[in-house]
């Protein structure tokens, strides 16, 4: 009985020692896991918040600048319009350029096109839901079709599309000129209504393909469409007009 008791005691002692060490190790581990969760989420959130505030401030500043320049140009124009002849001609030229650059809000007849995700849901045989949502590439194809059909001004969800407009997709978000937009996607285009409508509806064209997949497509010709100006004017940093000396 005594030897058994001694054996028992040593066993308990060893177990106690080990359990103590294990408890400590467990504490370190739990602590580490907590720390890991906290820092990762915290770091990401603060970085994103910082990015958002920064971008917003920048956008605000640039909008102000655009507004300031716009009013100044209007003043110049008023002054200049009072004169005749050559200046008048130059003013017309300027007007066209400014429409092309998207600096002026424009109005006229055209079409409205509303695009939304497919009502079809994946039953499995066709793969993922990816097939049934509007992708940036569809919007690009529509835009291209509109220009090809002679549209004079185009906007997408209120963003004027001009020569340097980009429709991109990052992390499942569609962006126009770096501003995120979401469905429904509304195109407004000014131009010959019949030409625009028939070009978009062409057999085998982009709308035709989307309709087969049951995307929600609504195309309406309109008498009067107003398209807003661009939020931020194009800046030319690299492209310069070719001068006489530089020509080969």
């Amino acid at each position: 009985m005594a030897s058994l008791w001694r054996g028992e005691k040593r066993w308990v002692l060893a177990m106690t020692l080990v359990c103590f060490a294990l408890g400590g190790l467990l504490a370190v581990h739990v602590r580490t896991q907590q720390l890991r969760g906290a820092t990762e989420v915290g770091r990401q959130t603060s970085a994103l918040t910082w990015l958002l505030t920064d971008t917003r401030a920048q956008l605000e500043k640039q909008k102000e600048e655009t507004e300031r320049l716009r009013t100044r140009v209007a003043e110049y124009e008023e002054e200049a319009a009072s004169e005749k002849g050559l200046i008048r001609l130059m003013m017309d030229e300027r007007r066209n350029s400014r429409i092309a650059l998207g600096l002026l809000p424009v109005q006229g007849p055209g079409v409205e096109l509303i695009l939304d995700d497919s009502t079809m849901r994946t039953g499995g045989e066709l793969g993922g839901q990816d097939f049934f949502v509007v992708h940036d590439i569809y919007l690009l194809q529509v835009e291209n079709e509109l220009w090809a059909a002679g549209a004079e001004a185009v906007s997408l969800n209120g963003h004027r599309l001009i020569s340097d407009s980009a429709i991109t997709c990052s992390a499942r978000l569609i962006k126009v000129n770096d501003v995120s937009i979401s469905n429904p996607f509304v195109f407004l285009a000014i131009g010959n209504r019949d030409n625009l409508t028939s070009a978009l509806n062409i057999r085998g064209g982009i709308l035709d393909q989307l309709r087969v997949l049951e995307f929600q497509v609504k195309l309406t010709p309109k008498d009067e469409i107003v398209i807003p100006p661009v939020a931020i004017a194009t800046k030319y940093e690299y492209a310069q007009p070719v001068t006489k000396e530089a020509e080969p």
Partner: protein, 124 residues
């Protein structure tokens, strides 16, 4: 007497928990695997005790050596780009399960034997 190790586990946890600053997340995985190795040693000790072949020198050396070995193996696996971490977890997991099953079987047998002989103690 059986409560002492459990109390020690709790005390160890409570002492270290407020003190520990937590360690670098990259090393966190190795601590985790060391904890699993420690539990394996614990369960193994319980089994050998019930089988009457417990030796504290084997137990203590095994406890610390296995923790270090398991963590080193995982580390080595990370260095050479092979998930040895998983191999360690699976091997230890299987061992813990087998040992726990054996412990249960031994306890049940001991109990049945006690009932049959009435007066005999649970552990001989």
């Amino acid at each position: 007497m059986i409560a002492l190790p459990l109390i020690a586990l709790l005390v160890g946890f409570l002492i270290v928990y407020p003190l520990s600053p937590g360690i670098a997340p990259a090393l966190g995985d190795y601590v985790a695997i060391a904890v699993v190795a420690g539990f394996d040693a614990l369960v193994g000790a319980l089994r050998s005790r019930l089988e009457h072949r417990f030796d504290e020198a084997v137990f203590l050396s095994g406890f610390f050596a296995n923790m270090v070995l398991a963590a080193s193996l995982a580390y080595f696996g990370d260095r050479i780009g092979v998930d040895l971490y998983l191999a360690v977890v699976v091997a230890l997991g299987i061992r813990i399960f087998t040992n726990l099953g054996r412990v249960r079987a031994l306890l049940v047998t001991a109990r049945l034997e006690t009932r049959r002989t009435r007066s005999a103690p649970v552990s001989r």
